[in-house]
Symmetry: C3
Subunit: 256 residues, 3 copies
């Protein structure tokens, strides 16, 4: 029903791998490269051109790579100049601006808006309606929840744009804000509606506005015990599934 080649535009300069499917009403622009088995659903744009397209007769669309085994859901817009790794998936109406680099096995939820020049590691999960401002970056296995924001302008409006950074394994709950230039450590938990206005060490539990910071490793729930780091109790879709986090981590460290 979705793949009837109805109202589809595919540039002759796009390169589609084996078994790539392009949904109805979608457009694939110049210099897009899509890896094999990837599904691009209906009403989606891959390789959205940058500003020069509208005014410069010599405009050449920057290269845009979507990895294999990915699923781009409908109405998403991914700009030219992005590089996205394998097994990527999106919800609906996602926007990813130019020159963003996203690792492997990432998932970006419905309505999430990634502004450009952003770096996202592997296995990150941005839920619905997350906003990532330009020049922000994060490590691997970072999860962000709805309406959480990474900001970049310390005295708006200014020329001193300075993205923030979120370390690996950190969880950022709904409506939390990371202020410009702030470095958040690994394995932190940022509470709902909190405003992170200072550097956070690894294993911080940071909540509220003004921000209160505790050590997440001391956080336990009756009948459940210690809950963080979370990698010892959650493995669905994670590369340590079945073998345990420590065994997987040792594999990562050993020479190949």
């Amino acid at each position: 029903m979705k793949f009837n080649r109805r109202n589809v535009y595919i540039s002759p300069k796009a390169m589609l791998g084996r078994n790539v499917r392009i949904g109805d009403n979608s457009s694939i622009y110049d210099n897009v490269e899509i890896g094999e088995n990837t599904i691009v659903c209906n009403d989606t744009v891959i390789g959205e051109p940058m500003g020069g397209y509208y005014s410069d007769p010599g405009y050449e669309n920057p290269h845009c790579v979507i990895g294999p085994d990915s699923m781009i859901r409908s109405n998403s817009i991914i700009y030219a100049g992005c590089t996205i790794g394998r097994a990527f998936s999106t919800g609906h109406r996602v926007t990813i601006r130019e020159k963003s680099v996203i690792g492997e096995h990432c998932s970006i939820g419905t309505l999430t808006d990634i502004e450009g020049d952003v770096k996202i590691g592997n296995y990150c999960r941005l839920h619905s309606n997350v906003h990532i401002s330009q020049t922000s970056a994060m490590g691997d296995f970072v999860w962000m929840y709805p309406y959480s924001v990474m900001t970049n302008d310390p005295y708006p409006p200014s020329y001193d744009i300075k993205g923030s950074y979120i370390g690996s394994y950190t969880q950022v709950c709904v409506h939390a804000v990371i202020l410009p230039g702030v470095q958040v450590g690994e394995n932190c938990l940022i509470g709902a509606n909190s405003v992170v206005n200072k550097r956070l060490k690894d294993f911080s539990l940071a909540t509220g506005n003004p921000l209160k910071v505790l050590d997440i490793r001391k956080y336990a729930v009756i009948g459940k015990g210690k809950l963080y780091p979370w990698m010892y109790r959650f493995d669905r879709g994670m590369p340590w599934q079945g073998i345990g986090f420590d065994a997987w981590a040792r594999q990562q460290e050993s020479p190949k």
Copy 2:
């Protein structure tokens, strides 16, 4: 202008009632049933298929019902498996995931994102950009305002997903968050940017983060008097319009 049958897909397995209108560029998938006089505007998808559609050759789209006298505005996506009552209306770009059940006379605003397995009663009004996570539920006459959120994961990420619940007549103001598994009573008012981290009794006025809770029945404004419960001073579009809330409530209680 909107109803020219331009670039429309309607499955032969869809059932459209009398006077149903389908806008240009819209798709109605298998096993969708739309009640009479309903308008589906342009660029809209009803019965969006679930994941199995892309991989399972024997995939059958679950039944999706949209009640009569409804208005689905443009660019909305309603998944297969949803059941929605009569006189439903949406803004633009609404997303409703699979297996959600929505009662009669509900209205869902522009960009609102309902994640799936959600239960919404009758006469609920979700304004623009509300986010409802999976397994959340609410009673009747609940109003939620922009960027308010119902969450479901108590220690993210976890396997212990537990939607929250909002009782009938409760109002949830902008940017308020209901934490996972929390039960909010009837006739509450949740203030802007507050974080509801505990069970709230009926008639709670809950504001801030950390949360402060008062009795809403004591809240009065000079020149206006007591304002809550709101059903005694507001009836536009409500079933007690013209007869008053008490008279209507008595009708509900009496045997038919």
Copy 3:
């Protein structure tokens, strides 16, 4: 690639200026007037009809004006009855409801939702995902950041809708909420996640919930000095670019 007249609808009652370009899959409804050199990208609707269109056989679409030299990015919806000045630009999926009036040189970011009957001055910049409720208004050079909100209902739900107002040059940071009917002065800075529940004088620095208010003119950063008013250190795209704010301001005051 975007301008192939593929699946485009342009009403014979629309007036398009010289060099106007309309992207594929876009619709321009009755009584829309678009100024010269404006680009309307793909999948965009200008002059979206109001409710009467669906039921009233004599419905006439209200006049909608988009100024010259504008750029409307894809998937935006601008309702009939809006008047928007020259050099306007939008991100993707912007919604602007009926009867809103927007000045010159304004920019509205991706997913921003303007509800109708809103007044926006000149050179305002609303970033991604801002929500402006009905009857809200702002002066000139106002910047609003993601998930900031102007609200309008003091005791929801009520009939006493009362938009708030933001004075010229004021900056409203992420997730900030202006409560209904509140007047914010000129040259203020509203901090992230704050709730503005009272009138703010010019030059207020307002942060938090509950709100704390200081004088922004006393705010200085080591090595940078005083940062506000910001017009003395930032001029990109502003009319005082190259000549300085004071010189420009004097020009505005002098008789022409």
